[in-house]
């Protein structure tokens, strides 16, 4: 992974708030991260941790109101997406940044052909003629492994299986050669076999096309298989960030450690019950003044209630560059602990 080079995407201090009848919900709090060219960043966290909202905020895809991006900057190739005009932003969406959503069953428009839904983006962003766009759409469908591509252009989404629809979604996201592909739990709605196929496909496409990918998931197994670097989110914040091997070998945050323990082991003696993290994720109704994980944390102490921990480097490198964690507690040295099963 090329370090030190100028990142394709740089997010600083992103803050997204939902205004609801009962008050504000602070869904994303001061999130910062970067993405290098050709890198695959895994984003993990349980439901409601702010993963999707963060990524949707980047492209301002959240409905406003109720969503409001309060602060931060999102630099794509040095230009701030949050300051852009609507027209410019639309050129970025689907042009420079492709988005794949969670549920392929509902993410495609049921009344338009798959061909139309791919060529629509091509014609807008690349200014292709109808015929040229169709030729490119056929290439894209072949690229994502859909057989008989030319004929399938005229098919409607309901004529595809779930896995095939997700391939179509990926084809749409890749249509205009984006610099960044954001995949928001793209395999969650699919069964394991299809999930494996899609993962293989993304690995292959990444090798072939070399774009940077942000992969959102709550499945650590998936992350271990494809990511270069991992960002763990909890309560709308980044709680830990590290290269993938380092994270699995030396998790620092109590939440990350607990997450890794919840992965059921296939080999060895079967445990009586699946491990869970006790408690519920926090309600993000106030701007956090304390550690969001404190209620569920086994290492909690007084400082956790008084002060929301900032990200600090673990390995001596700058925050964001190496391994960092947002926690007041110091994990013991790595050798002393059992390492998680990746």
């Amino acid at each position: 992974m090329p370090n030190g080079a100028k990142p394709v995407l740089q997010v600083r201090g992103l803050k997204t708030v939902f205004r609801t009848r009962t008050g504000e919900v602070h869904a994303v709090n001061n999130v910062s991260f970067h993405l290098q060219r050709g890198e695959l960043l895994g984003v993990v966290g349980e439901s409601g941790s702010g993963k999707s909202v963060t990524m949707m905020s980047l492209l301002r895809l959240l409905p406003a109101p109720p969503a409001e991006i309060r602060a931060g900057e999102v630099l794509l190739n040095g230009r701030d997406l949050l300051q852009m005009g609507a027209d410019e932003l639309r050129d970025v969406r689907g042009g420079k940044v492709g988005f794949v959503f969670q549920d392929p069953m509902t993410s495609l428009n049921p009344v338009f052909t798959v061909g139309m839904q791919i060529t629509e983006a091509l014609r807008k962003h690349m200014g292709l003629s109808k015929a040229a766009a169709e030729t490119r759409a056929v290439e894209l469908l072949q690229l994502v492994g859909i057989p008989d591509a030319r004929k399938r252009l005229k098919a409607f989404p309901h004529q595809f299986s779930g896995g095939m629809r997700q391939r179509v979604m990926i084809a749409i996201a890749l249509a205009c050669d984006p610099d960044v592909l954001i995949a928001d739990e793209p395999t969650t709605a699919l069964d394991v076999t299809i999930q494996a196929q899609i993962l293989e496909l993304v690995k292959e496409l990444r090798a072939k096309l070399g774009m940077a990918i942000i992969w959102i998931t709550h499945d650590l197994g998936v992350i271990a298989g494809i990511a270069d670097r991992v960002m763990v989110m909890y309560g709308g914040q980044v709680v830990e960030q590290a290269p993938v091997r380092e994270l699995f070998a030396n998790p620092q945050h109590p939440y990350t450690r607990a997450l890794l323990k919840t992965i059921p082991k296939i080999s060895g003696e079967r445990e009586a019950r699946l491990k869970v993290i006790e408690g519920q994720p926090p309600m993000l109704s106030a701007a956090p003044s304390a550690c969001p994980f404190r209620e569920r944390c086994e290492y909690r102490h007084d400082r956790c209630n008084a002060e929301n921990p900032l990200r600090r480097a673990v390995d001596g490198r700058e925050v964001g560059q190496g391994h960092d964690v947002a926690c007041h507690w110091q994990a013991p040295a790595p050798a002393a602990r059992e390492t998680a099963h990746a």
Partner: protein, 335 residues
């Protein structure tokens, strides 16, 4: 698709036959006699002769079968003869109105243009107003346009047309004297002046009926749009960089129109049947007025025929709505 349509048409035959029996039977049960329309000065034996000649005294099933034959066999022949100048009918007995003694279909053909111009225009205007309002109020939910649209729709839909009609007449025809209160059916459009007069006298009835229909259609459009606006594919379209115009008017509207088109198609028989109340209020000499007149006069053939034509139209437009559904929604295929 073709087999589906043919099958539906085939199923429609017993349905319509059953409807015709019910209509004929119910209308026949109604109290009163066509004799009541004959002046009392007519001597009893002449009166009996007249009734005899109308076939009133024949048993129920004879009258029903005769009417059925006339409706499905004789009248189409006359229609063909009229259109192509042939002579297939050869003077066969047509369905005759008790009160006017002229063929029922001639009266219907006479009355149809009035109904189509006024009620048809009202329906077209309603659609043209309702669709943009419905789409916009859904897109800007809870905006002042939406609030206003909701209020007007509630009023338009819940206040009956005989009331809005009279209110508009009192305000605009009686107090302000902007428009005539009575529709002049004899007006012929020959020049710009008479065209203006025609438009002028159509405004009030079109407004009354248009408000009523627009209220219904805009509510359906709004709720259908709202349902679709929150769908995942809308987010996909935005993530592709599509403009709001494309997202709303192409992606969302195309999906939302599926149920709306059905509602519009199912409402069309009402246009042909004539909005009875509105025609009464504004004295429009259309089909609806003909039906009311026939009911008052115990003119059974007229009532039966108009009611049955309405039934045919409802069955037909149900079929059309189903076919449109299949055309608009690729997930539905009738094979």
């Amino acid at each position: 698709m073709l087999t589906y349509v043919l099958r539906r048409l085939f199923i429609a035959i017993p349905t319509l036959l059953l409807i015709s029996v019910v209509i004929f039977f119910l209308v026949d049960l109604a109290p009163g006699s066509p004799a009541s329309e004959i002046p009392l000065t007519v001597p009893p034996e002449v009166r009996a002769k007249i009734l005899e000649s109308l076939g009133v005294n024949a048993p129920f099933h004879v009258r029903y079968l005769l009417w059925l034959k006339q409706f499905f066999w004789v009248e189409p022949m006359y229609a063909i003869d009229y259109l192509f100048g042939t002579d297939y009918a050869q003077g066969a007995q047509r369905i005759i109105s008790y009160s006017s003694r002229s063929p029922v279909f001639n009266i219907i053909i006479e009355r149809l243009p009035q109904t189509l111009t006024v009620i048809g225009t009202a329906y077209a205007v309603a659609i043209l107003i309702a669709l943009p309002i419905g789409i916009y109020s859904a897109y800007r939910q809870y905006s002042w346009v939406d609030q206003l649209g909701t209020f007007v729709s509630m009023v338009g839909y819940s206040v009956p047309t005989f009331f809005t009609g009279v209110v508009l007449i009192v305000i605009f025809a009686v107090k302000l004297q902007w428009f005539p209160s009575i529709y002049d059916t004899t007006l012929r459009i020959t020049d710009w002046g008479s065209l203006w007069k025609q438009i002028h006298q159509m405004i009030l009835p079109v407004a009354v009926l248009g408000l009523y229909n627009a209220a219904e259609i805009s509510r359906y459009t709004r709720s259908s749009m709202l349902e679709n606006l929150s769908q995942d594919y809308v987010r996909t379209a935005r993530a592709k960089g599509m403009s709001e115009r494309v997202v709303v008017l192409k992606h969302v509207a195309r999906n939302s129109m599926i149920p709306v088109v059905t509602i519009i198609a199912l409402g069309l028989p009402g246009v042909f049947g004539g909005a009875i109340v509105t025609e009464q209020v504004f004295k429009i000499n259309g089909i609806g007025a003909a039906l009311i007149g026939a009911i008052h006069a115990n003119d059974l053939p007229m009532v039966q025929t108009i009611t049955f034509i309405t039934a045919i139209l409802i069955v037909t437009f149900n079929l059309i709505a189903d076919i449109l559904y299949g055309v608009l929604d690729p997930r539905i295929r009738y094979d």
